[in-house]
Symmetry: C7
Subunit: 262 residues, 7 copies
């Protein structure tokens, strides 16, 4: 990418109508070492992230990439950790304020509108900078299960399944192949799909650990513990063999469905 | 377009009296892949947009390009999604506030004046940037049906029919040819004209999906579902054959009318 | 015009005492395609503007270049449409506020002082830019008929007759030739002078439409409809022939009067 | 004048202790085409300005260069018209506010202190620019007649007689020659001196019109109408012949007085 | 490190998504001469820092690198002393405010969230700069013992053991080797591990003095005095011999555990 | 003086710890044409300034360089007139406010502290500039007679005798020679010393007029009128002859005293 | 020192983590001509400064370098005088405010925390600059005697003995040699040590005058008058001879003590 005169400030459009500082902030999301995957069926939303070992240069506990916001909502992120903490903290405050003013949980769509406004302001004022973080927000409210993706450009969009972060391409390719399967998946199937999707980026670095979080109609947002995670990983391995035999079939169907449904 | 000294800030006029940052923001409206068309008859306003499939790199649900603001008002946009969300959110708040203070819906013209003021402020202060989005606002109030077009320059103008976004030229050409026909169209004819207009940009990318929204005296703002949309698409195909035979005729009439009416 | 070091900011004087950004903003007034003319007699003020056809690239309704502010006041503009909308909106608010605080219409001179202050602030702070629009304000109050011209430099001056915008030179030349005739014109004569004046810029582009607005002691500010406009256009054509025969005469008188009266 | 590094901002001193932006603003005062003269005797203050004809490019009424502030105070200016309007409006507000709080007219010296503070602030903050206008303020209060000169540098100084604006050198030379005569002049003599002084700049442009304003112990601030002005012009012509015969005499006296009195 | 265009402002992303000013602030943490180590077991948290002698150029008392915040919380820092003082003062105020509003000590996690928000704001506004200091915060609350590390990037992360500052690499290497031992250490063992860890950076500069601080379930945050410190130093020397014999063993175990536990 | 990178802003230190903008503002104090001298004995403070004739280019009254602040306080200045007016106005307001809150005159030292704070703020913020003026403040309060010198650097220091402005070197040399004589001078002697001191700069420009101001225990701050001034000038001439004979003597004494007293 | 890109703003870190503007401000502390020394025993704190003669270019009274803040606190400074006055004024206000809110003197440590916060803010915002002054603050409260050193970097540290300002190296060398002697010194001994220390910088400029200030448990902060000062200077000369004989001895002891005590 060549250097140019229009990339020092998020309030400057290039002659082509691009805002380079926003695009550079998108790069920050890819700086990490691990991908994050989110999937949603009719009743469940699952977040799967790869958590590195304790960082060698800090002896820190493994940095948590999945955070709980309120009983029915949580998020996973990729990119700058401090920016993620700010947005997490913002979401928590929003939910608490809503809870104090009204009875019941905040509708996810409304929370996301507020998030978009906050993030957009950072792409629109020359004394600030865009947030250098991408979020996957998983929530459940009276409208059902929700998965939102928020990026530094302040685009907050509803997804059925998505992946962000470094080396998320392989995960995305898996998700697109199985796109139509997710809607009617059971909770276990959804988790297994998530694990399968993220495995693409897992191959080379065996010491990465999979972290799972789930929220659903009947279940509060919960980060699975090591034992439960292990159970699903094994389940996914078993399914993998079954699926791989079924896959050829599904893929054909998918192609037909795409034209009629999307 | 050559680089020059006057294009880094929306508070700087070039010696020719142009504000380049505003012009660059207009380019952002053309960055998307799809056009958006709006038409208005005496009683109905129709928005037609092309909605891409789920973005390949995010597995997101097809991004909605048409948004409802209040029961009698909605908008379609082209350009930066987050900027559109901010303006959508602004319009919603304005309508709600009006509703709380007065009984009845906000007059569309008044809402548009407020939008113009908000957008103009972003072309007039060096710590901000113009909004990189174009809006088509369709509404109905006691004054009848309205179609407004709002562009990054903060020009908010009333239209009978218009198209914005990438490859909107073909749609505009169609609209100009049929300009005089719209005023007295029935609802179905208006929708069919909209579909015909947008088809120009549709040819090469068959997997784009048409989205329709309508608002009228007797109808609240409503985004048509897939079945209804399909119905109109087929209706428009049938009409196309009829129209194409009638068109030569109409076109002659149009040319006569233009001189006397515009 | 050569580039120089002093033209990037409206808070910088050049060594010759000029403020280039203000001068560049004046250029924006000339960017449009049509001129706007204003004339005032003792009892009437007339605004005449050329309104283009629906813009080919937007299918918009012909953009209104004459706007009503309150029953006895209106304006015509040339230059950036959004900036004109802001100032129009500002004037409306000022008049409303005055009406709420006092009984009766705001004196035009007082309104214009407020406008000058608002516009001057934009030539005097480095985070803003001058307004890129010229206004002709026609009003009537207890002091009689008024015509004011407001330019980006924030110069708001009282005129007897003036023209602004692209190709306004021919109109100005006509106005100067007939300068002394206006004061005692009847309403119809004044309108005909206005139409004659603007015709200079009309020659090459036959599809421009003339728009008329009038305000007077006995008449509220009113934009004439197509039929009435047509009536005056024809009247002006008839007069033209009479006048052109009288003109030689008048012109001689004028030159005598100039030295004694101005 | 060579370009240098210290002339872009009124908050930057050059190594020689000069503030170039202030000096450039002084140039703006000389940009106009006409000079403005002020003189004061013990009992009267007179402002004389040259008013151009209606500007050829706007058909505006001759722009007023002398403005009334309150019954016993008025001003003449040279330089940027909008900046003059702002300061005029500021002075009007100050006087009104004083009148509301106290009974009686504001002392001129106090008003001038406030003006100096306002103008100085514009030479002292980097987001503003100095006012590009010079004012002559004529007033009368319980302390007698006052003539003040306010320049862009914010220097507000009391004068016995002065001239500002383009080609004011000839007027100044006249004033200095007759310096000692003014104090005990009658009203008519003072006006005639003013007319004589400004005539220096009048020679080449015969179509400039002289404008007179006077304020005194027994007279409110008043801009003379055409007839009265004409009367004084003729009186001054008659005096001229008398004076020119007396002048040689006076001049000798003056030189003696200068050393003993100033 | 080559100079580049993106490193002058903490609101500018480089095309690779990095914020150089934040990275440069991280360098400030390494500017000091001494490392700081923190370790936590289930019940105790220990801070060990190397305190230089009185600075030769100020004759100051040895600068304290460990500061108490409230009875159950303290911190050690590396980097710019004044920035550390500001953050220390901020934490003290937060704790006091909490104490006045609620009964009981502030939960450490909540305090750390506030710290992260404050520090992040300094990486996000162009009129500020990131804090040039790294903190190790040791606290104990109803959730047990806590060790947090806060860096200029505003990353505030929970650690089991870590070291920051100049030449902290040797300390980190020791901590990683003994990683799994800490959790169940007794207070004395934990302190000895800390002393052992920091000794790596101690070798060349014998006149550095070790400072110890400890906080635990039954113990308030307390900086050990010289005598107690000396006692632990000797204890650690004795243990060193034992440990070095045991170490080979432990190291093997560690490698096994890492895969199953992290 | 060579141009350098550190002299554009009063918030930038050069690598040698200098603030060039402050030094350049000091130059502004020397820009005028006349020096100003202040001396204080135990009971009196005297200000002596050279006042030019009416400025040739403005016909202004001789600009007053000595201004009264309150009955027991006044100032003389050198440098930018508008900046002096601002500070004068500030001091007047401070004294009035004090008078309204407390009974009695403001202590001079306290007033000077406030002045220093105001002036220092202008050397410390990048949107302002240092004041380009030097002040000598003469006052008397319950602590006796005071002479303060305030410079653009915001250094406000108490003096026994000093001189500022253009060509003040000769005056300073005189003052230093007679340094020890001032303390016990009578009022007349003090004035004569002041006149003698300023005469150094007077030689070449005979048409400069001396202005005197005095304040003391028994006397309010008062600018002497022409007659009184003339009386002192002649007295000083007479003394001059006496003194010049005594001087050789005094000078020897002075040198002895310097070592023991300063 | 080479010029570089990172030294224009106190909000910019260099790639090595340094803030050059802060370092340049440290240079300002060394710009003066005289050193300032502070020492503290268990019961007394002494400030010794070299005060120049009346500045040759202002005839000012010798500028006071030691200022009293409240009965038990005072300061000495080196660097920019106006910045010192601001900080002195800030400390006075803080003490007064504390006195009004609570009974008793403000604890010195608390006052110093406030000072550090104020000074740090000036190293952390791009519209300000660091203070260009170093302070030695001597105080006594219920915790005993205190000596603090505050530098432009906002580092406020407690000292046993220190020296700042131009040519303070020699003084520092003396202080380090006698480091361990101070704690148990009597008041007289402490003063003599201070005088001895500062004499190093005194050699070449005999006309500098020593100024002493002392504060202790039983003594309010007091600047000694000339007579008392002279008494101590002679005492110190006498001691010097005794000490120089003892010194060799003490130095040996010191080296032993350093290892065990610091």
């Amino acid at each position: 990418m060549r250097r140019n005169r229009y990339d020092n400030d998020c309030t400057v459009f290039s002659p082509q109508g691009r805002i380079f500082q926003v695009e550079y902030a998108m790069e920050a999301v890819k700086q990490g070492t691990t991908a994050t995957v989110g999937l949603t069926s009719k009743e469940y939303t699952v977040l799967v992230s790869l958590q590195g070992p304790a960082a060698a240069d800090t002896s820190a506990l493994p940095q948590r990439k999945i955070l709980s916001v309120h009983p029915k909502l949580g998020l996973a992120f990729a990119g700058l950790v401090p920016d993620a903490q700010i947005l997490h903290s913002h979401l928590c405050t929003q939910c608490l304020t809503y809870n104090l003013s009204y009875i019941g949980e905040m509708p996810v769509a409304r929370l996301m509108t507020g998030l978009a406004i906050k993030m957009q302001a950072h792409t629109n004022r020359n004394e600030l900078r865009p947030f250098g973080v991408g979020l996957l927000v998983a929530g459940h409210d009276s409208q059902g299960a929700h998965l939102y993706q928020a990026m530094p450009s302040a685009a907050v969009i509803k997804c059925r399944a998505t992946a962000i972060g470094a080396r998320s391409q392989l995960a995305l390719r898996y998700l697109e192949r199985h796109w139509n399967a997710f809607e009617h998946c059971s909770k276990e199937e959804l988790i297994c799909h998530g694990i399968q999707a993220i495995r693409g980026s897992l191959a080379q670095e065996q010491n990465l650990e999979i972290k799972l979080a789930i929220v659903g109609a009947a279940e509060e947002f919960r980060i699975c513990d090591a034992a439960e995670t292990q159970k699903y990983i094994e389940m996914s391995k078993r399914l993998d063999q079954e699926v791989s035999s079924v896959e050829a079939l599904t893929e054909e169907e998918t192609e037909e469905q795409t034209t009629s449904e999307t």
